[in-house]
């Protein structure tokens, strides 16, 4: 089928969308626009392997270790890298880029994802880091060689993985978070507290239940001041405080951009034709977790949503009906924290009750399984240091008919 598809966003979601468009039968031209200059690469190692890597800081070398395999079916796809979409007209079917170019499309894939949120705190500019892109990780890599102390703000996955990596490199690291325990929002206080205690025993410091009010230092950061008035010394700060959706370029088209971009269950952006969204920017209803549309920031989502969105777009371009089966992906994510390997299915954050099914929270490294219920229904499970052979059953638990 002919027709030009423009994919805006050149990370995992954009790449998988192009591959799945080909798999769904689209043989027309595809253009992928990406703000970063790098071909799509894998981000989870940025807070772990990239920081720990002992080699030089050559960006090509580090990128080569992260770059995604690209299916042969997209060899003819045009990548416009180092360029950002700044505006769009979804009635005229055009996207405007920051270099003045306007791209016309027949079908559009929204895959612009998220950017790291930064804290607007007073204090010096030098020494503030985030960790979302390869360039961010390179900046942090070079900074950690000349510092003995660091503060990580935010005790979620990115923050704690980064803190664990810095700790392993011999840096005295303190994690600060306004919530009472680490991972409180993602995993709840029961498991979150157990992981925090495990990391504390290993030597990672935590200051929870407190926020940061300012950074100290004259030319560069020398510490952070907490809201109880105390100061923690730090040669650098990593702000791991969540992200903002890259939807500005979609403004003015009458879309619901209140949290990502609102879509239907087939990933069709609501209110316009021939536009689909993929990855962590897509807010779609998932019957597994009730009907409320939600964004899901887990690594498995770009791949899952790209498959459905591509099928939808190819059908819509052809004026054909889409598959009748509802789209109900099971989110999956993992985390490596020192000697702990977490593997999760579902959305533990949605649970109102956490149950320790096996193991001892005081001995996480020996293996623990926690399940999460919402109004009595399974919404997530997290395995800590359990053999991977058990994963199929943990995943399949979400496929059981609802009683």
């Amino acid at each position: 089928m002919a027709g030009h598809v423009v994919v805006v966003g050149a990370s995992l979601g954009g790449l998988r969308a192009a591959e799945q468009l080909r798999a769904a039968g689209h043989d027309g031209p595809i253009t992928i626009v990406g703000e970063e200059i790098h071909l799509p690469y894998n981000r989870p190692p940025l807070s772990k392997d990239v920081l720990a890597d002992a080699g030089d800081d050559d960006v090509e070398r580090l990128h080569a270790g992260l770059v995604f395999r690209r299916r042969a079916s997209i060899d003819d796809v045009e990548f416009l890298l180092g360029r950002r979409a700044v505006a769009s007209d979804l009635v005229a079917r055009t996207v405007s880029l920051d270099d003045g170019t306007t791209l016309a499309y027949d079908g559009l894939v929204v895959a612009t994802g998220l950017r790291a949120r930064r804290l607007p705190l007073p204090g010096p500019a030098a020494g503030r880091h985030v960790i979302r892109t390869l360039d961010d990780a390179l900046g942090l890599r070079s900074a950690i060689r000349t510092t003995a102390t660091a503060v990580v703000i935010g005790a979620g996955f990115v923050g704690c993985e980064t803190a664990a990596s810095l700790h392993r490199l011999g840096i005295r690291v303190t994690v600060v978070d306004p919530f009472p325990v680490a991972f409180e929002r993602a995993l709840g206080p029961l498991l979150g507290g157990a992981i925090q205690r495990h990391l504390e025993t290993a030597g990672v410091r935590f200051r929870t239940g407190t926020g940061v009010v300012s950074y100290t230092g004259s030319h560069a950061i020398s510490g952070v001041t907490l809201d109880d008035g105390t100061t923690v010394s730090a040669g650098l700060v990593v702000e791991a405080v969540g992200s903002a959706c890259n939807t500005e370029w979609l403004a003015g088209n009458g879309l619901d951009l209140s949290d990502g971009v609102l879509t239907d269950n087939d990933l069709r952006v609501l209110g316009v034709d021939r536009v689909v969204a993929v990855g962590d920017i897509a807010r779609f209803p998932n019957a597994l977790f009730g009907g409320d549309p939600r964004r899901v920031e887990h690594w498995s989502m770009p791949t899952d949503t790209a498959k459905r969105a591509a099928t939808t777009l190819v059908a819509d371009l052809a004026g054909a009906p889409v598959a009748a089966a509802p789209f109900a992906p099971i989110p999956s994510f993992w985390s490596d924290l020192l000697d702990l390997r977490l593997q999760a299915f579902g959305s533990p954050a949605l649970g109102d009750t956490a149950v320790v099914e096996s193991g001892d929270l005081d001995h996480l490294a020996d293996g623990v399984l926690v399940t999460y219920l919402r109004e009595g229904r399974l919404v997530g499970n997290v395995a800590v240091n359990l053999p991977p052979v058990r994963q199929r059953a943990l995943r399949d638990a979400f496929l059981l008919p609802v009683s």
Binding site: W299, D336, Q343, P388, V389, R392
Partner: protein, 63 residues
Amino acid sequence: MKITVDLDKCQDHGQCAIAAPVAFRMNDEGNLEYETTVEDSYLDEVEEAADVCPVQAILIGQA
């Protein structure tokens, strides 16, 4: 098709064994075992296994 797993990269996450049990399984020690050749009719499953590998260690080639 031929399957190659970069065992220096593989961290035994086990996602491939969920996506394509015909080619990948995790043994009782928690380590990956895999078939180096499977029928082309399983291409979709094996492609999915390669896609969902967190460390992108799976390569698929022509038999």
